[in-house]
Each structure stands twice: as C-alpha cells, then as structure tokens.
Symmetry: C2
Subunit: 183 residues, 2 copies
DNA sequence: GTCTATACGCCGATAGAC
DNA sequence: GTCTATCGGCGTATAGAC
C-alpha cells in the first residue's frame, strides 16, 4: 500500500515549516507570505495554491500543534520519571518538532489570535491534569508554572541569539526542588 | 514652583497610554499609529508631533517600563513578607501601571524587538538577585520561573476575555509551596 | 501545481494650513 | 500643538498563463 495513499505535496509541508521557522526567528509581523514563500523556495502564487489565504496557513499550523501535543501527552503519561519531571525537562527549548510548533503558536497567540489562545488553554489543562495525577493538585500548579516560566524565558532566546544551553542547569535545579516538594 | 516646571503635554501621555492599551488588548500588529491616535483622541498628525516616528513611541514605552521596574524593585527589596513572596504575589495580573507596562513590553519583545528583549533580560536579572538574597540561589530560580509562568498565562487572559480572577487561588498555592521549600 | 502580473488597502511618514 | 491631505511602500489576495 505504500505509495498508493494520498500524500500531501512536499511543497505544502515546506511552506508549513517555513512559516513556523519565521514565526520563531523573526516574529509574527515579519512572517509575511512573501517571506514564507521565499524561505520555502516557492513563489507566492504557489504558496497560495496550497493555502488559499493566510488564515488557512495559520489553521494548519495550529492543527499540527494539536497533533504533536496529543502525541507528547501520551509520552508524558507513560514517562517512567513521572509526568512532573518529564514536563519540566521537556519545557527546556530542545528544538523538537513539538517545541518549535509550540513557540510558533505562541507568537500567534500574542497578537491576539483567539483560536490560538483557545488551543493553548486546552493543552495547558491537559498538562495540568497529568501532572496533578503525579504530584497532587496543589503541587501541580507550581510545576506547571515553573515549566511555563522556562518557556517564557526561552522565547526571547530562541531567536538569532540562541542561548538555551545556559538553562540546562536551571532545569536540574527545578527538578530537585520538585523532589523536595514531593517528599 | 508648582506649575512652573516643564510638564509633558497631556496628549503625549494619552498617546503613550493608548499604545500600551492596544498592545495588551489587540496585540502588536493591530497597535498601528492610526489605532493609537484614534484611541488617544488625537489625529495621526498630532501623534507624530510628539513622537516623530513609531520607534520613538516604542522607546518611550520601554523607558517607562524601566522606570516602573526600578520603583517596583525598591518596593520588593523592602517588602516585609520577603522578596520571593512579594514577587509571586505581584506576578498575578492586577492591572497596575507596572503590570500593564510589562505585558505591553512583552508584546514588543515577541516580535523580535531587540531593545525590548535586552531590557527584559536586565529586569529579570535584578529580580533574580533580590529573590536569591531572600531564599537562596537555587530556590530563587524556582520562584522566578513560577512568577514568569504566572505572567505567561496571564498574557492570554489580559485581552478582551479577561479572566485573571481565577488565578488568585493559584498564587496562594504557590506561596505555600515556596514556604515548604524554604523550610 | 506552480508561475508572473497586477489590484487594492493599509501603514508609516511628510508637507503644510491653521 | 494639532489638524488634513497625500505619498510611497508593503502585505494580502486575485487572475490567468504555462
């Protein structure tokens, strides 16, 4: 059956990737259709064949986030170290598809894109539920906010002057703090 | 001497406030000169008399943040409850001038405004130093990230669908977590 | 499917009247 | 100090060739 299934065109994925990269690197305002087309190696007309307007490009980006977040939640639920530790560790910017998708969506939420904000809230709630099952309802909040704080700070560094390495030590410190709170 | 000192025109402050409000409510992209002028109750030409270009408007906004952050740091250093507790409590969106200024600057940093990012990093460092003097270097990180996480979440709620009240309970839970970590 | 050419509106900024 | 009028440029989107 391989090769017979309906495969999405490569150009479409290239456009989606380029949009995501630009959102992360130069921000929402500079992620124009011109810039996306150029980075994806297609013309603007070619881009608009796959995504009839910019909103559909945004929608596809958010749908990919939902899919990746769903996969990540499954991994998190089965993590041997526990959901809380997994969450904090994964809150560090590590350039995974999920990380990139999440930060890109953040940029959209920042410009008051309501759909992006709604999806964010939903993902946050699922994370919280999983962490609460691991360390209890009260502590779950502390863990969730710590992870969000890590993301909040990584956002400024994920651009041209990427300096995420320095936060590795912070993660270990947070993990030990979580251990103290658990015991 | 009252009335003889050089006072900045009211229109100038109105413009600055309007810009800040729009950044918070509708995001950076929609905070255009037209929109700012309209909300401030002046014409675009009038606006551009006080701020010759948009960059100068941004600069003035960031300078106000620096001033407010400096004042807040002084209060934080003298807080009877301790710097850590004060920081977490003040990380909740409470619609103070400092809160508004901070979130507005966040919107600018998000679109890769380098100056805004630099000022952010500086303020964060000052906060961290003060908290570290209160609860120690390791725990300071946990506290800082929790506060940032609160801000991170408040950002999505500070718009039209403001729902910040619900996080009041979270703050209390975080404070008790900090107490446990301190002891 | 992908391209070029073009329409059109909005944004930032200038000129100049009052 | 504040206004109106206007310009150039860019960003989104459409039309239509290939």
């Amino acid at each position: 059956m391989i090769g017979t299934m309906a495969r999405k065109p490569v150009a479409r994925d290239a456009v989606l990737d380029a949009f995501e990269e630009l959102l992360i690197d130069v921000g929402e305002r500079a992620a124009t259709l011109d810039a996306v087309a150029k980075r994806a190696g297609v013309s603007k007309g070619g881009l608009l064949y796959h995504f009839p307007n910019k909103e559909s490009l945004i929608t596809a980006t958010l749908e990919r986030l939902d899919r990746l977040a769903g996969e990540d939640l499954a991994v998190m639920a089965a993590a041997p170290e526990g959901a809380a530790a997994y969450f904090i560790r994964s809150s560090l910017w590590s350039d995974t598809p999920m990380d990139r998708s999440f930060v890109a969506a953040t940029r959209l939420a920042e410009v008051a894109h309501e759909d992006a904000r709604r999806r964010f809230a939903a993902i946050q709630q699922q994370w919280l539920d999983l962490i609460a099952a691991d360390v209890g309802k009260t502590m779950a909040k502390a863990v969730l906010y710590m992870g969000d704080g890590l993301y909040f700070n990584a956002m400024w560094e994920s651009g041209p002057s990427g300096n995420a390495d320095g936060r590795q030590g912070d993660v270990e410190e947070l993990l030990s703090a979580v251990e103290r709170l658990r015991g």
